[in-house]
Amino acid sequence: MNMTSSLIYILPEIIILTFALLAIIVEPFTKLKRLIGVLSLLVLTLALIVLVLSACRGAIGGSLFYGMLTLDPFSIFFRIISIITSGVVILLSIGYTPLHGDSEGEYYSILLFITIGMMLLVSSSNLLMIFLAIEYVSIASYILAGFMKKDPKSSEAALKYFLLGGLSSGVMLYGMSLLYGWTRSLDISEIYMALDSGSIPIPVIIISIAFLLAGFGFKLALVPFHMWTPDVYEGAPTPVAAFLSVGPKAAGFAVLVRVLLVGMGGDMQSHWVPILAGLSILTMIVGNIVAIAQQNIKRLIAYSSIAHSGYILLGLVISNRMGLEAILLYLLIYLFMNLGAFGVVIIVSNSIRSDEIKDYAGLSQRSPLLALSLAIFLVSLAGIPPTAGFLGKFYIFAACIEAGYAWLAVIAIINSIVAAYYYFKVVRMMYLVEPEEIGVIRGDVGSCMALFFTLALTIIIGIFPGPFVSLVERSIHILGM
């Protein structure tokens, strides 16, 4: 499709972009900075409605902008995930006091810009477009990580994130240039055809895959490219950490799935499946083991999010139908449970100015509902029924067993037991230990709404998974596969 006829299909992106630009212009002249946040939320809702309506009316197949972007159920699913993530994060940010100040309005605009970046990233089917979208998301993420300019930890996080991120982008770009040099194309479908013709030496394929994976591995926080994660999560403003743990990760998985399955599917799978399996095992094990020792809840969630990347990656290692469904379902569920857990962390840190796990002592008596919510999110992250997290794990294990990789399932299962141990360390603090201080902790309206929304979905998906599973089943159609 050409430029003009493609535009209508990216109407949601255009809506968000228009508002974000307006907000940037208006922001210096208004005192009502928080209003921008509320309006951003409305705009995201509008974009979501437009997106869902157009998907329902059948606008779900084809390539846009001369093959730069792809419109398929898979990309629509991830665009929806991007919008929901940003929406929940904005709800969580509105009441987060450390962000309040002169530049609060910019914060919401940058979040909107990242949202557009993620939406483009998940639709990209051209290496150049992929690289640009990744850089777009990354650069905005660096800014957000360092948004609390006066906080040295936040600045350190941003710098560390930027330096390592820049390096990994370079490595990834090198991998892409190798592919381009040998296949003379940037389009992943054409790359597949070139690779499949057998004219390209195997070492070149493997080296370019390795470079690409190093780049993606950084964005997805896969071990051994995960070093930035805990420091960035700890230093960044908590809503940003929440966002980074879900949004860019989901988008990164989407593009990884597309590149590997469309660009290097078929016989080429044998080149990357073993690498990916190794990465996945390493990621699960390191993430979970290091998480045990954490004393800071943000670092704990950071390592746990690394481990979750490992589980999700298993779906790609299997990459049959069930494996793909597992990836999508897991990311959808992970979005709600992880943002929810961060929501409680935000409310608590707003009130007691601490992220140390020991300060969660007796939370169940200070604030029963908050403690109950966090307990449910953690139980869900641990993958215990009847919460949604169980369904995600169930799909991953099921995919492994179906494909005959029972040993991978055993490794994942042992990891999930370790994970249950450290999640329950927090639960223990909240319920089994007496509080040192008394005083009720209350959340603001925005965070409470976000909490209610994520909690409701964490429970509903766990008990009535049918509609969500069928959504996922319909969304695994990737164009060109």
Partner: protein, 492 residues
């Protein structure tokens, strides 16, 4: 009614829990009353279930089947036969009695009853579920409330005991999940339906059966508990508050054995046959080892806890026998152990509430001060050591009878277990009730009405099924006969 009764018994506690959740936490008495009423309604419904159950029909009854996750062919499928009905009744009975025994809880009452009722939902649900996925969800639903119930209201080492219980059980259950998934993908068409899997069972290859059996065995063995997976049990039982120890011993341990009767044996009969030598060996080790360790205990609660390891060994021996009498006996032992050990833990709780010690050597001569207590403790202990006329004798006799022809050596050694059991039970009675009165307890109050109400039903049941075992056997025999045919055991 029949179609919905299992769903009602399962979810009424959940409804009760939700109501309590929205009550102000200061209304302690109201919350307790509501808890007791909820469990009582379940007991009434459980009795209705028992009456409406047609024991001569080995097929599933009270079936309810609703589509749950159509994409994976998962159903909300509840039903009960002779294997589940007595267990469901035991669950609702013990839940009611232990709820009465929870009257003394005065710390964080609201949370306690919410979790307690949630636990009951999980237990009844797991005994009624006929879809493996549903079974697993209920199975895990028991885990989290139990963690809190031990961890918040337990004894001095409650946190250690709670997390140990949690991690052990979770480890077991994830292996069960693996087994369930393997069965699902091997079956054609893919199904989690236990009955369909039973009918497809002979299509599974020997190696596949063996692996799945081992995965399931690990999960069930931890729950039973089978030596050497039993180490969580003494900690959990000792640290848990009295009502929770009762639930743990009387109901939760039964899930392991229930899993063999309901899942492992009928679906994987070949592997079960091959596993017989191991099963028999572990049974004997459990019986003898548990009994010896129980004998060495100074803490009366720990003694009862280890006696569970020993008594559950008889269930395994019955299962290993692969004869009708053995299966019936093992099941009878499950029920009888539920009644007797539940009773023992209640009695230990009564004593502890008055004396705040569980040290066996610190009592003595209590029978003269608390004759009613002494009477009940004696009956229950004698039942537990297998005195003829009480339920323990019937089950142990049946197990030995069933196992004798096939596992002679094992049976002979296991009989020794009875002697040791008699030894530690009588020794316990002697140290607590007989001898000169310890002056410290000269003002010890007699059991009150509430405590008597919790114990008398158990005494009656143990005498009734001890004197006239067919009350229970009548319910289970047709289903067990059916099971023996399915697994190719000996019809004797």
């Amino acid at each position: 009614m029949n179609q919905y009764i299992l769903t009602l018994i399962t979810f009424i506690p959940l409804a009760g829990a939700l109501v309590i959740l929205f009550m102000p936490k200061e209304k302690v008495v109201l919350i307790k009353v509501l808890g007791v009423i909820t469990t009582f309604i379940c007991l009434v419904l459980g009795t209705v279930l028992l009456i409406n159950f047609n024991p001569n029909n080995p097929a599933m009854q009270f079936e309810q089947r609703l589509q749950w996750i159509p994409q994976l062919n998962i159903y909300y499928y509840m039903g009960a036969d002779g294997i589940s009905v007595p267990m469901i009744f035991l669950t609702v009975l013990i839940s009611f009695l232990a709820c009465l025994a929870s009257w003394g809880i005065d710390l964080r009452v609201k949370e306690y009853f919410v979790l307690y009722l949630l636990l009951e939902t999980g237990m009844v649900g797991a005994f009624s579920a006929l879809d493996l996925f549903l079974f697993y969800v209920f199975w895990e639903l028991m885990l989290v409330p139990m963690y809190f119930l031990i961890g918040i209201w337990g004894g001095p080492r409650k946190e250690y005991a709670a997390i140990k219980f949690f991690l052990y059980t979770l480890t077991g259950s994830v292996f069960i999940l693996l087994g369930i998934l393997a069965l699902y993908f091997k079956s054609e068409p893919h199904t989690f339906n236990m009955l369909e899997l039973v009918s497809q069972g002979n299509l599974f290859g020997a190696r596949f059966q063996w692996l799945v059996f081992l995965a399931l065995f690990l999960g069930f063995a931890i729950k039973v508990p089978v030596f050497p997976f039993h180490t969580w049990l003494p900690d959990a039982h000792v640290e848990a508050p009295t009502p929770i120890s009762v639930i743990l011993a009387a109901v939760l341990l039964k899930f392991g054995a229930y899993g063999f009767y309901r899942i492992s044996y009928p679906i994987l009969p070949d592997a079960a046959h091959r596993f017989v030598p191991w099963m028999a060996l572990l049974a004997v080790i459990g019986i003898i080892y548990g009994a010896f360790v129980a004998m060495a205990q100074k803490d009366i609660k720990k003694m009862v806890a280890y006696s569970s390891v020993s008594h559950m060994g008889f269930v395994l021996l019955g299962l290993a026998a692969f004869t009708l009498t053995g299966f019936n006996g093992g099941y009878f032992q499950m029920f009888s152990h539920g009644i007797l050990t539940g009773g023992l833990f209640l009695l230990v709780g009564v004593l502890y509430d008055r004396t705040h010690t569980r040290d066996l050597d610190s009592f003595g001569g209590l029978s003269s001060k608390v004759p009613r207590y002494a009477f009940v403790l004696t009956i229950i202990s004698l039942g537990s050591l297998g005195l003829p006329g009480l339920s323990g004798f019937v089950s142990e006799f049946m197990v030995f009878f069933g196992a004798w022809t096939v596992l002679k050596a094992h049976t002979i050694i296991s009989v020794m277990g009875i002697v040791i059991t008699a030894g530690y039970m009588l020794y316990m009675l002697q140290r607590v009730l007989l001898g000169p009165l310890n002056e410290k307890w000269k003002d010890i109050p007699e059991m009150n009405a509430r405590e008597l109400i919790t114990l008398i039903p158990l005494v009656i049941i143990t005498i009734v099924i001890g004197v006239y075992p067919s009350v229970l056997l009548r319910l289970i025999n047709p289903t067990m006969t059916d099971l023996i045919v399915k697994v190719g055991g000996i019809m004797r």
